[in-house]
Subunit: 332 residues, 4 copies
Amino acid sequence: MTIKVGLIGAGVMGGDHARILSTSVGGAELVAVSDADRARAEAVAASYGGGVVADAEAVIGNDAVDAVIVASPDPTHKPLVLACLAAGKPVLCEKPLGLTTDECLEIIAAETALGKRLVQVGFMRRFDPGYVAMKTTLDSGDLGQALMLHCVHRNETAASYTTSENMIANTAVHEMDIARWLLGTDVARVTVVTPRPTRLARMQDPQILLFHMTDGVVVTVEVFVNCQYGYDVRGELVCEKGTATLTPPHDITLRQARHDGFGHPADWRPRFAEAYRVELQAWIDAAAGGPPAGASAWDGYAATAVAEAGLAALKSGATTEVTMADRPGLYD
Amino acid sequence: MTIKVGLIGAGVMGGDHARILSTSVGGAELVAVSDADRARAEAVAASYGGGVVADAEAVIGNDAVDAVIVASPDPTHKPLVLACLAAGKPVLCEKPLGLTTDECLEIIAAETALGKRLVQVGFMRRFDPGYVAMKTTLDSGDLGQALMLHCVHRNETAASYTTSENMIANTAVHEMDIARWLLGTDVARVTVVTPRPTRLARMQDPQILLFHMTDGVVVTVEVFVNCQYGYDVRGELVCEKGTATLTPPHDITLRQARHDGFGHPADWRPRFAEAYRVELQAWIDAAAGGPPAGASAWDGYAATAVAEAGLAALKSGATTEVTMADRPGLYD
Amino acid sequence: MTIKVGLIGAGVMGGDHARILSTSVGGAELVAVSDADRARAEAVAASYGGGVVADAEAVIGNDAVDAVIVASPDPTHKPLVLACLAAGKPVLCEKPLGLTTDECLEIIAAETALGKRLVQVGFMRRFDPGYVAMKTTLDSGDLGQALMLHCVHRNETAASYTTSENMIANTAVHEMDIARWLLGTDVARVTVVTPRPTRLARMQDPQILLFHMTDGVVVTVEVFVNCQYGYDVRGELVCEKGTATLTPPHDITLRQARHDGFGHPADWRPRFAEAYRVELQAWIDAAAGGPPAGASAWDGYAATAVAEAGLAALKSGATTEVTMADRPGLYD
Amino acid sequence: MTIKVGLIGAGVMGGDHARILSTSVGGAELVAVSDADRARAEAVAASYGGGVVADAEAVIGNDAVDAVIVASPDPTHKPLVLACLAAGKPVLCEKPLGLTTDECLEIIAAETALGKRLVQVGFMRRFDPGYVAMKTTLDSGDLGQALMLHCVHRNETAASYTTSENMIANTAVHEMDIARWLLGTDVARVTVVTPRPTRLARMQDPQILLFHMTDGVVVTVEVFVNCQYGYDVRGELVCEKGTATLTPPHDITLRQARHDGFGHPADWRPRFAEAYRVELQAWIDAAAGGPPAGASAWDGYAATAVAEAGLAALKSGATTEVTMADRPGLYD
């Protein structure tokens, strides 16, 4: 069985999904691509297959399309996901699911009404072998229960339009999701600590976020989006009897010019290449009838709720409660 | 375009190929499976698709089969590969290509007569990200030219039927291939050095092989198939201005019970999981019309020629020349 | 020139100092030892030299003693250091310098009145090659200015008498000193974050301390004194253009039983063995006429002031200012 | 008790010994220094103590000198060590003990006649914490018995006068000693394998030496004295149940400019700084009446015997037996 995929948005992420789908995922075929910039859609279709269609609606409404990837600009996510739900088609939506918790709740209402999980949010870290190994270790019970999770999230340089707020809503949002997934609990409250900023950027960079989980586990997250030296994501899970630490992926070390070590990538894609591949495969497998995989619409909502608390905490300087709606049974 | 694959041999390696093909390779579908033990074939087909057919001939001769994987016992490799060539179908043959250089030359003669490369030999290390990064580094010229390659190849415990000779013909044969591929030259002569053996096995284990490449590069290979602690493959390429060292893949490190480190797998499959996946994808892509990928029949022959020299060197204790036929133009 | 040393307190730390002094420090000789438990003093003297004297006063007042090590119980530190100052003898006092900031200020007043630095506080980490390399890197300016310092301080198990408060006053006090020394600024305020505690101890363990330095650098300190897996001190200094991370000292890695890694010590002494040795050598060199080395009485006071703020922060749950006296010119 | 040390030879090694002796060794005092170049002797004495005396004889014959360090040019070693023996004074002689096995045997005869071990040869690696940990691990029996030892010995660039022969006699000689010490057996025969040489030097560089120990253990030694990237010594001891690998000492890792790793030193002194310190301390402790420490005259002879076999092996291309005299009981 081959799942025929339609792609909305042929930018960096959309193009990457198309490439992975056509070169290293089984059971899938790219059949339709749309982008506001038709030339981009054509380039992706030429490389990875599928026909170019006029617009997002022409992807979703296309009878040949079994499942849809939404990788278009953030403000389009909600309406497009709703359209996919209306069409009864599985959708992989890049984060964020919605611009606000209200938008996310609209999607949840629609999916709940449908009574069937069709939405997967693109929190790819849930498929990263490192985080998966960390979770497997935690769930084994060998280390006792979790007490703390230390996260570091560094980008070489931030895009010119990045703001202090983006660092929470677009960058740290990955840790908001992974903390919930890994620890199996929700974020109860958020604090933002602001060190003196680097002089090499015009924003509050770095920031340190603290999450108090509902069961008392504390998560520390350093977000530093202009660290200059490369893309670097770290993590250590601290349990009662031991800890598990992510190994930064690298295939070789070089000894050269008095140095001994490995290289950091320039951006997140090499770091999470395997996560993206497994994420897409899991999504295709789910679309082909397997169990839902990855982050649900509820998880997309929860991450947005934590991000909203984080933004309030950044603004006020105070620890801020995360307020969440009741979770519909569909997401149990 | 979907390549329909027939599988001959549903043992450990065949079953793994079926799994990978159906869960993480794009553009492929398993359609037929055979095994001398029909129950094994049925189990694999049930999990990963395809119908069970009577025997190898029923796979190769099957009109629905575009390409064939040969993972049956070693003595069947030559006749099955010849049958695939006769049928004009791409074939991925597990190593060894043949039991002897003569058998390999028969295949080469048949493929050369056909004038078209259809055979890929399953030297999966060529697709391992570590070796690929090492080769990319060498080919960049940044480190100058290669002078030495140090290899370590350790298995936790050898199967009961393993002999001192198997350690060369079945284990070190991987290094025979990877050295040729990585360095881009042939092995000119082989020496086997024999340390005192471990008391935990009944064979000459470990062994140290030395390859002198045709351009003077020296390759050292420690083969130790009862090392007790786990499966472990290492390598360091030493060039004029620096070295590149394989990182043993691991996703996390654990701190527990006064230890800090990572785990070794029990066998080769986790170590080379990514290599197997990429190998299969490359083979499918080639079958779908792409350029030939991986080790050719000639490479299969060359590895066997080096292994034969290695066996003679083990027996005689003397450095032994590798004698090779002339390479047909098909393999340039 | 040989400095004749008197030792007050022949317990774990005192005994270690005696051993190091007599086996791996130049220019020193142990000549007198006292301990409330005379047998302990005799054991140390028998192993490392010196005569046993009646009490601390008999050490300090001894004409043969050039310099004094105070390694007796904490409440004795202040009076003994004052006695050393009165006797005009250099003194290495184990931390804490005093039980309270008031006690420390008494010492500072006496030393200032003397007009000469004679007191060194035993914050040995200032001599640890890792922290020294970190400071050298920072001071070189290559990485730009410091923005954050992440510290982890873990003990395998805490002594039965350890309390949540001890974790700040006796454990995290090392980070209070090293942060000031490394960053060259003072701690302005302290926050204590309390994750759910481990069930394997009866205290608020772990704790996360946050120091805001006077220039805005933020220091995070995880203190976890019942981590079960061993003694482990980590640190990463994050600057504008890169970071420097402590390497946990280990001489070899072992591959055994599917593990690959190194061992953690049971307590702090192996981890800081080199720091203790260099600390003692620097103290002896200073006593022999070299410049003052290590932490001054002022540094001892400052660490105690930060600890007091930390204790208040632990109690109140609120961020707490560190209040400090004016620094006498003697300590510029 | 303070051992008064005389130093013969105030070059790089002599100066280093003087520095270590006066700054980080207990129980010792430098009292006399000589050098063919009087200015060098004066510089060392000015920095580290002691009076400058006319010549080597004036050091050895000096009544104030208890023990002598010989760090003068290689051809002077034998006569000076003999003079120390004649004077009944402990002597630490830099390697080589003699230029030939015959010279070494002369010393052994003299020491044997004296009936007392006074000679220590400067094979400092025996005191390196890494090798010591490796030996401790082996001797514990946890890993079973040794089967192989892999050594790598790389220098950034060789001095202009270095030859292919020097690489054996002066560089690999360290591995000749450490293999004997670590494994507790002698080298029975030596083979030298010659890869194509680097184009960045004018000698047979690198070389691979193979030692067959008397009990069948095989030692591989890569010697590469123009590796360009820094000084680097590695080692892995392979036993029946596991392996122990030297960790290259480094205090911090740096993340900077897309790199993550540690630095290699330019030469051997930082790498073996701790080994030199402990070596000197052990020598002083022995001179003060403790048991003999480090490499004996016999060990110096044995290393030279292995080196002579190595030179013959390099010349002939054949495996060469090491011939050794009978060991006098003094060295049991």
